[in-house]
Symmetry: C3
Subunit: 274 residues, 3 copies
């Protein structure tokens, strides 16, 4: 029985890199279905890809997750495999896997991939996706090797975590940030509905959204259809976080928001007060 | 027996959206092959994607077609499934499916997808591709549910059509438009060879092509090899419509054509007369 | 038993072209797995795609390789299938297949695809990927036809070769060129480690890299981790050729290198001398 393999990278689609990894998986795990999570995440941006993987993981079939965003390839960073109740994650030890692994309940076993028998011999040290990570994912998916055969155990506290910005409640406002702008220009914040509930603010109210020194009054609605074309709205998005959108438009351009920009949310009363 | 699923969207490939839909399909219809028709159609451009689907449909394996270009997500627009002799189309009721459904002979049954048991519960109302359309496509493809179980019947005349521009014969000329520029810069018009045959014009002749106030004399040939490198030609393209191309070049740039621009075709005699 | 099909093109991902070819393959070879090598190679650039295919081929599962970069579609160029010990290559006779076929040991049989029964009837002469190459690849992969049934034999010397620039040893320097810049900005040269070994130069030494009139001193190291962040290095890349990289940066920008630019390599002594 071959497990499905879900594959994420920052390789882009201009070269043959993604195709070559697919080739290695097809050769070593011919019975495994391969699902491309995405390959055009910003190059070397571990955080962006880690957040995407976290958003995606619950929708991917249980099995093996191969994730390669690896600006430290060719340095001393470890290659790891982490076993969870969802399945096994394979990738570089740079924080990329950490939030998704946490999302599915944490790892009960982590190994450092060091067994040369599970690797493809290569003239160079630059394409670990092809030479180390893909073969490891394939033998795990095909059942040809167990995680124990890949290398020695690593303690969870030795693994590189991903430091994600937390929201902060300051009096009657929540200080958060834009942490993802999707391709449609919708801006997801790191603020959860529970954060606002803590201030007694809920759906149906008009929020005060502060970006830099600009203040916007934005209704918290359930869906795009609740506002008119061209109007800004705030809503709980498909991941469960508060997101700012413009019906039929781009919120990133309208509110001058990009990833990492600070966003402060408050009820309308506190805005009047402030 | 699991049916293949052909999947089209405007999600782009920068995010994990396409991958998440693949994940849902793999979970709910593990035996179905998934074919990506394309995901980089202009965002929210229902017409462009509908034309692409119409061009593609006869080459796709019979089964389920999942198409999501859905600028009205979160509004009152219906989610529909349409049964045809080709198979079942699933997508938003905004005209996206209409021309392809017509191309394969029309729908003999259409339902409004409303059964919550066929959906994935979600915190938000923005990702119907993942939460409504993909699960519906998957259960239809796997045979786990019939179209009747998705929701109530909808009459064909209640479905949103796609209004496509028709050509018009004005005396000895055909008034059409550029309705697709492919990635190579080839410009497909909405003019069929039969339209010109009605004027007694056929292959081998030199056509007069009018774009704005500029007149071009262009030979109607069978293939690129019939003209010299760098020359403009008109030919019946792989879809069966008259298309303007430049051998080894880009017709869109050469003739300043883009989607929606009016193009008038006539024989060479009428041009001399005019 | 259906063979896997590896598919490369310059169709891009903006249209439905790649999806339509997948549809044809799924219809005619429903049991074959399809691996996308890549579809965003520069349009019409036979050399760039041929090099990518050559780099990829040893990692692809043996079977059928369908490659379509075909600026001469609609001219007299032949459509060919070439049988090798790796499997069968299908594509236009324009040099695209030649280096990969050579890489796997050469073809022992080449045919010109001319049998109309193995083609899809089409109104136009522009989409041979869909109408000629994909059906040929599919019937070969499914075993429905042997290569002999596709058309008459062609002698190897009648096939269009791909002329690739060779390196030249001039006294104590190697004159080569940049022949691939990957998406990360790494610059692969056409210089092999053996070329430098012939001059008595090996890893661990500092090389003199000349680009135009600019001279760079660059250490030949084993992996990125051997230099500090932001520093330039030269190393044997994952394909086995000498490549110039910048740790955490882009060598193409740093050294003003793009595909086809001349690069001269020498030991540090000859640089001092020169």
């Amino acid at each position: 029985m071959s497990l499905p393999i879900s594959f994420l990278s920052d390789f882009g689609l201009e070269d043959e890199f993604v195709g070559v990894v697919h080739g290695v998986l097809a050769k070593l795990a011919p019975g495994s279905r391969v699902i491309d999570i995405g390959h055009r995440f910003p190059r070397g941006n571990v955080k962006a890809a880690a957040l995407a993987l976290t958003r995606a993981i619950q929708y991917l079939p249980e099995g093996v997750c191969l994730a390669v965003v690896d600006p430290g390839v060719g340095t001393a960073r470890k290659a790891i495999a982490a076993e969870t109740t969802w399945g096994i994650f394979v990738g570089p030890d740079n924080g990329l896997l950490s939030p998704a692994v946490a999302m599915v309940g944490g790892a009960h076993k982590i190994v450092s991939i060091e067994n040369p028998e599970a690797m493809i011999p290569s003239p160079g040290e630059t394409f670990h996706g092809r030479d180390i990570f893909a073969p490891a994912a394939a033998v795990l998916a095909s059942g040809e090797a167990g995680i124990d055969e890949l290398g020695p155990d690593v303690a969870g506290e030795e693994i590189v975590p991903l430091l994600l910005p937390l929201t902060e409640t300051k009096g009657s406002v929540i200080a958060g940030e834009a942490w993802w702008v999707d391709g449609f220009g919708n801006v997801q914040t790191n603020v959860a509905p529970e954060d606002l509930a803590g201030l007694g603010i809920g759906p149906g109210e008009t929020l005060t959204v502060m970006v830099g020194s600009t203040i916007h009054s934005v209704p918290w609605v359930t869906s795009y259809g609740d506002v008119a074309e061209g109007e800004t709205l705030i809503h709980v998005d498909s991941v469960g976080l508060l997101a700012i959108a413009v019906r039929g438009g781009r919120a990133d351009e309208e509110l001058r928001l990009s990833e990492g920009v600070a966003v402060t949310l408050a009820g309308s009363r506190s805005a009047t007060a402030g």
